[in-house]
């Protein structure tokens, strides 16, 4: 999957000096990679976490080399532990694929009327062209079409420029699942040996800070709390970044209060939080959390948040229910916003990168 740059820590860096490039490929194939000094690049070192992903060694090497080429010393290129969408997506179809009902089925999956019409027409056209008639052929056709249209180059997380600490701002409407998302993300990063600092800038909702604190405990990460209830969220954001810098953490993740996108004052507050963070560090990601059970209103949410908070990516939560989250298709297409992460369950590990292929596969799967 994706390669990220984090601080090099512990004894690991002692064992990784100057291995020839060829060995790297061999070790990578074995699933446990140490690093190398690549020709012409000064003392950059790589450490690969063990991954269960069966990746092609040459590809992995290329990716590692690419990252390494830009990596300053003291950093390492890592992947996050493998997590999968799993059974997070439910199939659109009952027993058989019915072409005549495809449009309705897509509407039911929250793709939106226009998108549903367009995709259904396209699938029919393709099916006619290729002479696809069997159930399996039609499923494959739809899967390929969705996958192809959903794949983007920018669906990774912005954790590669090496300018530490990275700062993530997590925004969204009330009840979308921001705090839970942060808990899961923090745990995930922690599992990959990242040092994480959490910032509880949701100073509004009763006990939101405590909720995040519980997640912080589960993710074994420090949390910056507001001095008192109702304190200025921008101040909390500032202190969070400050702590991340002082403790040499890799990443600071800041929780914000839920706000409906049409509340102007609250939306403006996001701008203030942004500015407070930017006094000390660059913001790597503004993640907009969207509830998959939401329908077409998700579009309005994304538009409004993008306008005030420069959203860089979307986290789609609650995909494990009966909701299909079809709106994500329109979000990517119309707003050019990548879906980056998905939440697929209650457990702390039910969280993964968005994979168009797995998503499309799940949608067309036979029950």
């Amino acid at each position: 999957m994706f390669k990220f740059l984090k601080r090099l820590r512990g004894e690991k860096d002692l064992s990784v000096e100057s291995e020839p490039q060829e060995k790297l490929a061999v070790k990578e194939a074995a699933g446990n990679v140490t690093a190398s000094e690549l020709p012409g690049i000064d003392s950059a070192s790589i450490h690969e976490e063990k991954t269960q992903e069966a990746e092609q060694p040459s590809q992995a090497l290329a990716a590692a080399a690419l990252v390494t080429a830009q990596a300053p010393s003291g950093l390492e290129a890592v992947e996050l532990p493998s997590r999968s969408l799993g059974k997070g997506v439910r199939s659109l179809f009952g027993d058989a694929v019915d072409m005549d009902e495809l449009e309705d089925i897509l509407i039911l999956a929250d793709f939106g009327v226009e998108t549903a019409e367009e995709i259904a027409a396209q699938v029919k056209k393709e099916a006619g062209k290729q002479g696809a008639t069997t159930d399996a052929e039609l499923r494959l056709l739809l899967k390929d079409l969705l996958t192809e249209r959903l794949i983007r180059k920018d669906s990774s997380l912005n954790l590669e420029d090496g300018k530490l600490p990275y700062v993530f701002l997590v925004v969204g409407v009330n009840g979308a699942g921001k705090t839970t998302t942060i808990g899961k993300l923090a745990r995930w990063l922690k599992d990959g040996q990242w040092e994480v600092v959490l910032g509880a800038a949701d100073t509004y909702r009763a006990a939101a800070v405590d909720q995040l604190a519980t997640w912080a405990e589960r993710a074994e990460s420090p949390i910056v709390r507001p001095a008192k209830e109702g304190a200025d969220p921008a101040a909390v954001a500032y202190q969070t970044v400050e702590m991340a810098i002082n403790t040499a953490a890799d990443i600071a993740i800041i929780d914000t209060a839920g706000r409906l996108q049409n509340k102007k004052d609250l939306m403006d507050e996001l701008g203030k939080i942004r500015r407070a963070v930017e006094k000390q560090a660059k913001i790597s990601e503004v993640l907009l959390v969207i509830d998959a059970t939401n329908g077409q209103n998700a579009m309005s949410q994304a538009k409004a948040f993008t306008e005030v908070a420069d959203v860089t990516g979307i986290v789609m939560t609650k995909l494990d229910g009966t909701a299909k989250g079809g709106i994500l298709y329109a979000l990517q297409k119309e707003l050019n916003l990548p879906i980056k992460l998905v939440g697929v369950g209650e457990q702390i590990n039910d969280f993964a990168f968005f994979s168009p292929e797995e998503f499309a596969k799940g949608l067309v799967a036979k029950k």
Partner: protein, 500 residues
């Protein structure tokens, strides 16, 4: 909310307007538009299909072809059917014959159950009930703490024997809570439960366990109004699982088109009892199906608007203001204060969106600048006390000075003064209460008024100002609102004056 749906339907009906006769193809084209509008508003597909079917049947029938104005008749039918789906008359919470009344909350994660529990408790307390909040969400981290904080803020007792965060048995908690409520003589018990997915059988069993333990008088299904097509599945799952006796719509203050309201009401067959419309603990009101239908049809929701205004306006200030208006001493200073209070109600666009005809002034709404209020403030601040209290003295040179002082132009100042004068005039008329009565919220009358709004005049722009519109429908709606609000609550009238 429903704003965009209103717009779409407005456009659709505009095409019908003025037609003396509707052909079957006219009706089909209109129905296609309505179908699309409803789908884009997240009304569930099966509900839309039924809805369209019902309308088509009636629209092709005698009542339309024989009507004097067929287009108006179609509007009327749509309005009636919408109201029907939303549950007809507004419904009341059922109280047990012998206390405590037990209310159980259920819903998806993040639908707003815990916040709602707090609001409901406050609402009940304001009605002289003695509610007890029960923390039976032991799943979500610190849901218990959240409920405790809400209890503290509302002054309502919270029964929370378990700390939550995944430990403890909610069924036991619920059982103990009822015993406790009986012993300590609480009149209403509100049981907050964990959010659960409809497909999570284990959690649904737990909900059933809680239900059986507490024997609730009401099982309120708490629904996020932003819910999409999945609303049908979710509603079915909860109806078939734990059972649903009433629905609460949350986050209605957002800009969601709120189609979920239609879907959920249709699928559960249970009435929508309340809607939750904001962050504050007071942002909670009884749901009015007829008003909502009127809103979808671009009637605006003037009555809700006025109720909202009443809550926000300080009572003492209101009384003073009423006196001032009556005694004709309403000044620019009061105007300013009012505007500042108005802002407390929340986003101006949201408020304006509730007003009749707002759908058609979408562009104006889009253009409405929140900083307008700031500018108005600046202008009034640049006036001397004499000028503020006696706007009549504002001659050319004074206006010029004020414009300079406030960094605006003389035109801006002129506009403000005009607006003020209009608002003052309107309020004066209203405070005399000399308006014809139009009974409460009779859907048929509302429907009729709607028809009038479309088929009636086109003097759009002037209507917006100062409220005494030439449009009979709007005037009726205003009167209706006032009528509803009682005699002294005239200050809300200013919303119209400003709402331009």
């Amino acid at each position: 909310m429903f704003g965009n749906l209103s717009d779409r339907l407005s456009d659709t009906f505009k095409n019908l307007r003025g037609k003396g006769r509707l052909s079957a193809s006219d009706i089909d084209a209109t129905l296609r538009d309505i179908r699309r509008a409803l789908l884009e508003a997240d009304v569930a597909l099966e509900v839309v299909k039924n809805f369209i079917g019902a309308i088509r049947e009636r629209a092709l029938g005698d009542e339309v072809s024989k009507a004097l104005n067929p287009a108006q008749q179609v509007v009327q039918i749509v309005n009636e059917e919408l109201t029907q789906i939303l549950g007809g008359e507004s419904q009341q919470l059922r109280f047990a014959k012998s206390p405590p009344t037990v209310i159980m909350l259920a819903g998806l994660q993040g639908s707003g159950k815990t916040t709602l529990a707090g609001k409901l408790a406050k609402w009940l307390k304001d009605q002289n009930q003695t509610p007890l909040l029960v923390a039976a969400d032991l799943q979500r981290p610190n849901a218990v703490t959240q409920l405790e904080v809400l209890g503290e803020r509302t002054g309502v007792t919270v029964f929370a024997p378990e700390p939550g965060n995944g430990s403890g048995n909610p069924i036991e908690v619920a059982k103990k809570a009822i015993a406790h409520a009986k012993k300590a003589q609480f009149s209403v018990v509100i049981v907050d439960t964990a959010g659960r997915l409809g497909v999570d059988e284990e959690m649904m069993q737990q909900a059933i366990g809680i239900r059986d333990a507490v024997q609730p008088d009401e099982i309120l299904f708490v629904v996020d109004s932003m819910l999409g097509q999945d609303a049908v599945n979710v509603a079915k799952a909860f109806k078939d699982g734990v059972g649903v006796t009433g629905v609460v719509l949350t986050k209605l203050d957002g800009d969601s088109r709120g189609g979920a309201a239609l879907s959920v009401a249709n699928v559960t067959g249970a009435p929508i009892l309340f809607s939750s419309t904001g962050e504050g603990l007071d942002a909670f009101e009884t749901f009015h199906p007829d008003r909502m239908a009127g809103r979808i049809l671009d009637m605006g929701d003037i009555v809700s608007l006025i109720e909202q205004a009443q809550k926000t306006f300080d009572e003492e200030e209101s009384r003073k203001l009423a006196e001032k208006i009556a005694s004709d001493s309403f000044t620019l200073q009061d105007f300013l204060e009012q505007m500042q209070q108005l802002r407390k109600m929340g986003n101006m666009k949201g408020i304006l969106g509730m007003m009749p005809g707002a759908g058609k002034m979408k562009q104006q709404l889009e253009d409405f600048d929140e900083s307008e209020i700031g500018r108005t403030e600046a202008i009034i601040f640049s006036m001397t006390p004499v000028e503020r209290n006696m706007p009549k003295v504002l001659n050319g040179s004074r206006r010029q000075r004020i414009a300079k002082g406030s960094g605006t132009t003389v035109t801006d100042v002129n506009q403000l003064v005009n607006r003020f004068e209009q608002a003052a005039k309107v309020m004066k008329t209203m405070s005399k209460g000399g308006m014809p009565n139009i009974p409460g919220t009779n859907p048929v009358q509302m429907g009729g008024a709607v028809g009038g709004a479309y088929i009636g005049g086109k003097k759009k722009d002037k209507k917006k100002k100062g409220s005494k519109s030439g449009n009979p429908a709007k005037r009726a709606a205003e009167n209706q609102g006032l009528d509803y609000s009682g005699s002294t609550e005239t200050k809300s009238g200013s919303a119209f004056g400003l709402g331009n």
